[in-house]
Amino acid sequence: MSQIQHAVPDGPMRYTQICTRRTSCSSPPTSSSAAGTEPPSCPGHRGRTPRRKWQVFPGRNRFYCDGRVMMARQTGVFYLTLVLILLTSGLFFAFDCPYLASNLSPAIPAVGAVLFVFVMGMLFRASFSDPGVLPRATPDEAADLERQIDSTSCSKPPPRTREVLINGQTVKLKYCFTCKIFRPPRASHCSLCDNCVERFDHHCPWVGNCVGRRNYRFFYLFILSLSFLTIFIFSFVITHVVLRSNRTGFLTTLKDSPASILEVVVCFFSVWSIVGLSGFHTYLISSNQTTNEDIKGTWSRKEGKDNYNPYSYGNVLTNCCAALCGPLPPSLIDRRGPIQADTPQTAPQSNGTGGGSYAPTQLHSHMCDQDQCIQSTKFVLQAAATPLLHSDPVILPPLPAKPTSLGGPCAYLGPAQPTLPSCAGDVLTLRDVAVDSHCHHRLHLHHLHHHQHFVSPEETPCGTPQGALPCPAHMHLQHPAPQVRYDPVTQDSLHEDSVRGLVKLSSV
């Protein structure tokens, strides 16, 4: 084990993103741990031990107001949305409403105000609430699942999917390597937030959050009310300008009320997209589909297959009511809950707490997680240097893999190096997964300078023999271990996932 630690030139700083439990990951506290949570989650970093669960949340989210507000990491576009709405509405109320109230009716600003308040309320609800994040599996659960998966297959690669029959339709449940769970139906892993989200619709940068089970209705009401507000402002600004022009002439009107032009321009350009989006989501709600499913064509009629949406209630009205007025489930991540102290551990080789808390309680698990991080990274880096390999521990012949749009480093199929059960689990985290990866456009693999065998994806397309040699520096780390074998069918997903792991490293 010490070999591995010395082999890594940089400190464990870079590995925090891959660890499932960041607090136990690094002994020198890291500044990169601040990515996504405030204040930093590593104890001792500022002399403050984390008291609430949000402070040690493993996803890439930002929390404000002591955990009450939860958003995605990139919030720039959200502020743009806010500015646009506030600016346009503010100008409307300041410049157009006085004229309209006195010349037409005072109901106009009143209705406008109600709409505006509703829009802002829905926007905040959609942006600040938990979209339905699934908390990651505790180490005991993950180990139990691994045992189940490995025990079901002896000579084939362990299946990382489960099939379930829902309403007569076969649905595949995929195993999420980051969260170490089999994703429920309709859940998806958001790579931007690094969380599995229930009934994942999409990640909306305008709202600065994922849109999932718990905030879909707020998102829909937001875009619907925003369409009404945009059309309202647009039409009444035009009315104002027309009425005024009739009295004083067009140019004088523009001079008296210059803001109107800006409002008209903003509204004109936004109305198409927002109204279009509202229409699209109305269609989705009425057919009880998510954006994710619609884009992938999961339930579209396929030739020769009787494909239908098993979640639809069959009737448009019921679907709408269920989506908008159905029960609102509570947040599963309990972000403001206190971090539990020690809870009972499983007697043999316990690794950390089982109580759903993330605080490090044992030096044992502390070391193990650090090793996991280092090992995980080692395998990722080896994946970068080597093409798809069989699970032979010594010399690994290159295998041709399917060319994918990602190119670059292929998944590495080395043996696991478990000293403790969760080590194997974490190493596997980086290997094979069928993840809904959106990260292929964010490959910065050439940034990983601490492993000289690393090449950028453009230089070494997957499957070519030239980048094939396994890194000799790491060969001595291959210990004989329980075989972990993979289905050739999942090569792409292996590839994707190793790339994903690398992306995480590089984004630190």
Binding site: V117, F118, G121, M122, R125, L134, P135, A137, T138, D140, E141, D144, L145, V164, L165, I166, N167, V171, L173, I181, F182, P184, P185, R186, E198, R199, R217, F218, L221, P310, Y311, T318, C321, A322, L324, C325, G326, P327, L328, P329, P330, L332, I333, D334, D342, P344, Q345, T346, A347, S350, G354, G355, G356, T361, Q362
Partner: protein, 158 residues
């Protein structure tokens, strides 16, 4: 069945945890929360099948009630929408009320049925509704292992 543990706290602190058994979700009815009623083999000699099945079935029925899309949930949804969801600051949603009932039920089941058998159910909400976790504690029975050994194993674990 002798009552080896006087209360749950005593069991948690003095007994050593042998293993954890996880009852996974059953997705055959869709995304509604439902746990598998298949009896885990590890508990064969610890508890009667019927008892565990009954517990799981009752829990499933509670979850169905919580997630039921019907008259009351529509009313609640419309009212909440009309008040821009501010009403939820003062009122508890139906789902939360049912979850409270569930945790009360689990507490009661633990005290009456599971703790005497050296088992402990964990409320699924604490595991993100992924699993129903059953902690299996060391079956003292007639072995009468001393508390000091279990305490030392707990302290080294820490």
């Amino acid at each position: 069945v002798s009552s080896k543990f006087h209360n749950l706290q005593e069991m948690q602190h003095t007994a050593s945890l042998v293993t954890k058994v996880f009852i996974q979700r059953d997705y055959s009815e869709g995304t509604v929360c439902r746990f598998q009623t298949k009896f885990p083999t590890e508990l064969d000699n610890r508890i009667e099948r019927a008892l565990l099945e009954q517990t799981v079935k009752t829990l499933n029925s509670y979850y169905v009630e919580a997630e039921k899309v019907g008259g009351q949930s529509y009313l609640e949804g419309c009212l909440a929408c009309a008040t821009a969801y501010i009403v939820f600051l003062c009122m508890e949603t139906r789902y939360e009320k049912v979850l409270k009932k569930i945790s009360g039920y689990i507490q009661e089941q633990n005290e009456k049925i599971y703790a005497p058998r050296g088992l402990l159910l964990t409320d699924p909400i604490e595991r993100g509704m992924r699993v129903l976790e059953i902690s299996v504690f060391e079956d003292r029975g007639s072995s009468g292992s001393s508390p000091s050994s279990s305490m030392s194993s707990c302290s080294t674990a820490r």
